[in-house]
């Protein structure tokens, strides 16, 4: 069965499901290239989840161009967002905030780019950007940036595919069941895609914030970069050139063997005024409180609300127990191979085996000269000397010395025309 047939069957099944109450768009897409959004479909558990915490499920719609984001806790399901992947601005009105959000599937299908402009509590509108990335190991990396480029920070949450769909509500199981296979294969395909210059330019053209781009790049090159959240608590103190990592509140809990990624420790660093938080793309973002919260400046915001578990009024799922950890990207330090540079020996490899090169020189034989004047002439047994005029700098030397030029017994005669 071709991929297109599978897709058609899949969407047909979804369309017939009565459990997903929202009407599906009429357009039926059978082009396999549109399957990329399926990479994100499934149920996901945040790596920083507390025991018994909820799950985020993403289910497709008929046209595959829209993803429905559900919060699932026990038998409770709530659709918290629809990601319309065509880049169109969708209105936002929630939690005292209003504005718009948009989502766009990258041209190569390798990531979903998010942007929003939201005003909360009467404060000036702020721009947000984010990205959904499938990491090389198949996890869902959710990056969100806040603030302007020069001061912005990126928060990251990592979700791992839930392996226990049995406990999911039947509605979710029925919605996801038909697409699980193709979602898995699509996810594998997307995970294998490497970020290239064209992708970067696309991110830039879409206005994705610098720290978000950095995390997206770093996620694609885990052998080169790490998202280490164990650094300074003050992100603003970390020179961007060093691309080191800082976190508001982390403990030594590391993403297993991969990113060296620290996780928020669920301390409630959140909004001390309790009025500014809102969730965006799965993260609570306290930086909306920029005028009221001293914490947000240092990136503490967005990590807290441990006690806020529940559905809240999530715009896009945010479970309240964490808004992601603030990170910047740090290059991995290459391993020391044990070699050294030894004076007199050059570069050596491990074990001290020096590598040297050498060569030998041979003297150059020189003939004995005469001198050239208006015409050539033989030297008459002694060294010749002369001077030349000129204004250039430098030195010159000639080889005139003994003048032992030899006669061949030949004589010259005019060349006949």
């Amino acid at each position: 069965m071709t991929t297109q047939r599978i897709l058609l069957t899949t969407v047909t099944t979804i369309a017939t499901s009565a459990l997903m109450a929202a009407p599906a768009p009429a357009q039926v897409v059978t082009n396999a290239s549109t399957a990329a959004p399926l990479a994100w479909t499934g149920c996901w558990e945040p790596m920083d989840a507390m025991p018994g915490s909820g799950t985020t499920c993403i289910v497709p719609t008929l046209d595959l161009g829209t993803l429905r984001v559900l919060e699932v806790a026990g038998a409770d399901i709530k659709e918290v967002s629809r990601l319309v992947l065509d880049g169109s601005r969708q209105p936002v009105t929630t939690e005292g905030c209003f504005g718009w959000e948009s989502a766009r599937l990258a041209a190569d299908g390798g990531r979903i780019v998010l942007s929003a402009e939201v005003s909360c509590n009467g404060l000036p509108a702020q721009v947000r950007s984010g990205a959904f990335v499938i990491t090389p190991r198949g996890d869902w990396l959710h990056v969100q940036g806040s603030g302007f480029d020069d001061v912005s920070k990126a928060r990251v949450r990592i979700f791992r595919e839930s392996t226990n769909l049995v406990s999911a509500p039947e509605a979710v199981r029925r919605a996801l069941g038909p697409v699980l296979g193709i979602a898995e294969s699509t996810r594998e395909s997307v995970a294998k895609r490497t970020l290239d210059a064209k992708d970067l330019l696309e991110l830039q053209s879409l206005g994705v914030a610098t720290p978000v781009i950095d995390v997206v790049v770093a996620a694609g090159f885990p052998k080169t970069f790490m998202l280490d959240a164990g650094g300074s608590s003050d992100v603003s103190s970390v020179p961007r050139e060093q691309a080191s990592v800082a976190s508001a509140a982390t403990r030594g809990v590391y993403y297993p063997g991969y990113y060296g990624f620290g996780y928020p420790s669920f301390y409630s660093y959140g909004d001390p005024y309790g009025m500014c938080s809102m969730s965006m793309w799965g993260m609570y973002d306290y930086s909306y409180c920029a005028r009221t919260s001293q914490w947000s400046r240092y990136g503490y915001a967005g990590l807290g609300n441990y006690y806020g578990y529940g559905f809240g009024s999530g715009w896009i799922p945010g479970y309240g127990y964490g808004g992601g950890v603030v990170v910047v990207v740090r290059p991995r330090v290459p391993e020391d191979g044990g070699g050294s540079v030894v004076k007199g020996r050059g570069y050596t490899r491990n074990g001290g085996t020096a590598s040297t090169t050498g060569g030998t020189a041979q003297p150059r034989t020189r003939a004995t000269p005469a001198s050239v004047n208006a015409g050539s002439s033989r030297a008459s047994g002694g060294s010749t000397s002369g001077s030349s005029s000129g204004s250039s700098s430098g030195s010159s030397s000639g080889s005139a010395s003994s003048g032992s030029s030899s006669s061949s017994g030949r004589t010259a005669q005019p060349r006949k025309p």
């Binding site: 210059a197 970067l200 001198s371 208006a374 050539s376 001077s387 010159s396 000639g398 061949s408 005669q413």
Partner: protein, 253 residues
Amino acid sequence: MRIGSSIPPAMVLIALGVATATVAPAAKAQTGGDGFAFRAPKVAITLYGGFAAPSASSDLFTFSMRELTLGKSDFASGQIGGDVAVSVGDRLDLVVGASSNSSSTRSEFRDWVDNNNLPIEQTTYFRTVPLTASLRYYLTPRGQRVGSIAWIPRRFVPFASLGAGVVRYRFNQVGDFIDYQTLDVFADRYESSGTAGLLQGSVGAGWAISPHLQLTGEVRYLRARGELSSDFQGFKPLDLSGASSSVGITLRF
């Protein structure tokens, strides 16, 4: 009769291509992705081959071309060279480089033959080795930063440079010559070598093949004059000036 320069430029370029093709993938794996690097390069090493055309306008050249079957083009030669550029600004590089140009041309007296009607032959060897330090200014940005850790090279980047340095030179003629006093034909060798100051200007462009690999083309003009040894009496300083053009491979780190 021209017997050419010591190393054909094509061979140099082939060798450079093989070397860089070997090195480039390793560099890519460590320092960047497809079409981008993790930072703007700080150092660039260029190896090039090309063609040098000396002005050959001083009176020793004129004399040689008048008496012997030599022309200006006989002093032209292939060129090999290399330079190391260190970025000292967004668009500015400090470049130190060296090149070697040498020609070896067989000739005979234009108006004389020996008593057996055979040509009176000799070889003229001319070599210059400029060592230069230059400031190279890029007329457009060399690339663009995306985020703070990705850098995408600009495909085509023109540049101009000015520099100074020294040139090592050697001019010699070896073979059979005529004693115009006696019309005897004799074998001899005349040689002058030394070091002279130089000024150099160039224009060129880079064509990015990858973030770490670039094709570089450059046209240079060098101005210098070198003193002659006592082998060449009564002549003005040797004209070492000339233009050259080259194409090379640049590795950027």
